[in-house]
Symmetry: C2
Subunit: 349 residues, 2 copies
């Protein structure tokens, strides 16, 4: 597998998007977020998406340079129509607006519809956390998850993210699908030819399966909680569908013509509840107490939400980002088609 410096991947991705009609600002932002996902270890949300985005631009589903319109607005809320622009561009704007509104109004909600894939939710909730606010995000997409007790994939993986202002410890950032796992995880096992543990998916008959191919042959992901408590993950997934598919006007996963992401963002200004330094000190104390817990047999340490990503990033910033041969060949092919001089942009390690 070829290894790249993050900077090289970012520049290649940027040039490709510019060649496909993105403004320099759009190209830079989208590429930064994709490479950030690779750095954090979430390769399924990394530059592999360049291939998908370019196809979407060619099909007219994703429209570079789209103008964001405000459909509805109050001092503390807004509903944005992304007009099928880059998800990252619309979503960043939405969270920045939420942060601005929460500065004046203490708490704000900004929703967005008609936008393409936004990538990792944590990228947006962390913007709020860096502004000394609590960031909340929910997003829906196309259907892959069955309701508890059902065998039809009519819900999305419906992720939820929370990020909190950080003190001296690392930032507490939760970013989880409300299904047993994200779809990307099953796809990776499929590509590697590996079985998956029982409990992640069902086949088209509704039976538990360890064969990742069954997901793509009429099967479904299971909601968080499994047989014992899957009604809980199912319930959380429904909440996300309502907040994004309905409140954000982006259609529910099951609806005909559902495309792209529906976005619900919220910012809560901590200072209207307590001094920010006190809040941060108390988050630090919580983190330290949890990490010092006695362990269960078989565990070496307790990892807090956001910690695996931080570790991957520190490692990959030094060692570079590995891309699967197939991904790299496809990206290079796209670049060459647009006469982008890869060798000038690249700094292979």
């Amino acid at each position: 597998m070829p290894v790249f410096r993050p900077e090289s991947l970012r520049r290649i991705s940027e040039e490709i998007f510019i060649a496909y009609g993105a403004t320099p600002e759009e190209a830079r932002l989208v590429s930064e977020f994709l490479v950030k996902a690779n750095l954090c270890g979430h390769d399924s949300h990394g530059v592999i998406r360049v291939i998908q985005y370019v196809k979407a631009i060619e099909k007219g589903i994703l429209r570079p340079g789209a103008k964001i319109e405000t459909t509805k607005e109050t001092p503390s809320t807004a509903l944005l129509n992304g007009n099928w622009g880059f998800g990252q561009v619309v979503a960043k704007k939405a969270m920045e607006l939420a942060i601005e509104k929460a500065k004046e109004c203490s708490v704000s909600v900004v929703c967005a519809y008609n936008l393409y894939h936004i990538g990792r939710l944590a990228d947006y909730t962390m913007l709020a956390a860096e502004s000394d606010m609590i960031g909340v995000a929910m997003v829906n997409s196309t259907p892959t998850v069955a309701p508890y007790g059902g065998r039809e994939a009519i819900l999305s993986t419906a992720p939820i993210s929370y990020a909190f202002p950080k003190g001296r410890e690392h930032m507490l950032v939760l970013d989880i699908a409300t299904s047993m796992c994200a779809e990307g995880k099953i796809r990776v096992s499929l590509h590697k030819g590996e079985k998956i543990p029982e409990g992640y998916i069902i086949d088209k008959y509704g039976n538990p399966s360890t064969n990742p191919a069954d997901l793509y042959d009429g099967g479904a992901l299971l909601p968080l909680g499994g047989d014992l408590a899957g009604h809980k993950g199912f319930g959380l997934g429904l909440v996300v569908e309502v907040m994004t598919g309905i409140l954000a006007n982006a259609k529910c996963a099951y609806e005909v013509g559902k495309k792209g992401n529906g976005v619900f963002f919220e910012a809560i200004n901590v200072k209207d509840f307590m001094p920010i330094e006190e809040f941060k000190d108390r988050i630090d104390a919580l983190i330290r107490r949890i990490k010092s817990s006695k362990l269960r047999p078989g565990f070496k340490e307790i990892l807090l939400p956001g910690e695996p990503e931080l570790r991957a990033e520190m490692k990959r910033r030094v060692e570079g980002i590995n891309l699967p041969e197939r991904t790299w060949i496809e990206i290079r092919r796209i670049a060459e088609k647009k006469n982008i001089s890869i060798t000038e942009l690249i700094n292979e390690k």
Copy 2:
């Protein structure tokens, strides 16, 4: 087991609380909420709590008639000090305040600390839903849940609730602990002398256990998600701790002197995003599509969040509420101690 009309239980509970110093309004509200929990099938949150509350009043932990103070306030937020009043009284006031604020400000957050047990979260989020708003609630309490990978009970069951304005279908109300199950479920199995399925708890050594007694002998409840995805329930539990233990100033579960509940309430005014009738129609469509899903083998239907409670209530309003002999004896003993004439209040069926 003796069977009671809800009205009888409410009146007995009311008289007891008045005898223990509650104002008539407090006694009525708390008793209504306790009986409502019985009606909904959540007996662990029902009139069995009269016994616990009376003990807490005798110990001075719960203070009937306490004045609620506003510690911090903006047009859209408030932080309330309950001064150790009845949880239900403080929490209802908090959600009503959130609803009032969201009428003006579109979205609001009201937190509360220094209050006793508030009962079921759904009782409060439904108040928002009945006002055509989305209600959100989180609460923490004393520690019973281990972090993912840990074996110490240092987190609370950290429930989350969402309720949505209803159209023609029943109200969509989620109210779930972010642990594999609520503590009350294990306690019921203990009292019945039954084993529990593997996956709910660990013993004091961190090993999976099917013996409910192990929870009360240094064990812990597991976070939602089990071995495959317990990091997700753990992450959600941490979010609740931050929102209630820190933002709401109510101490985290692990902290010395943690008592009562910490409360985070939010209300989102739907009309600032779309006409309420359109919202309700779309919720109805979502409900109908989900309920019509093809089923997995072994399932007879898909139950939506809030549906089991609604069915229990319809049944118990007709058939009455069964109380375990032991619970009834204890409640009667308390009433007799205060010279409350049970026979006048009772209407046994």
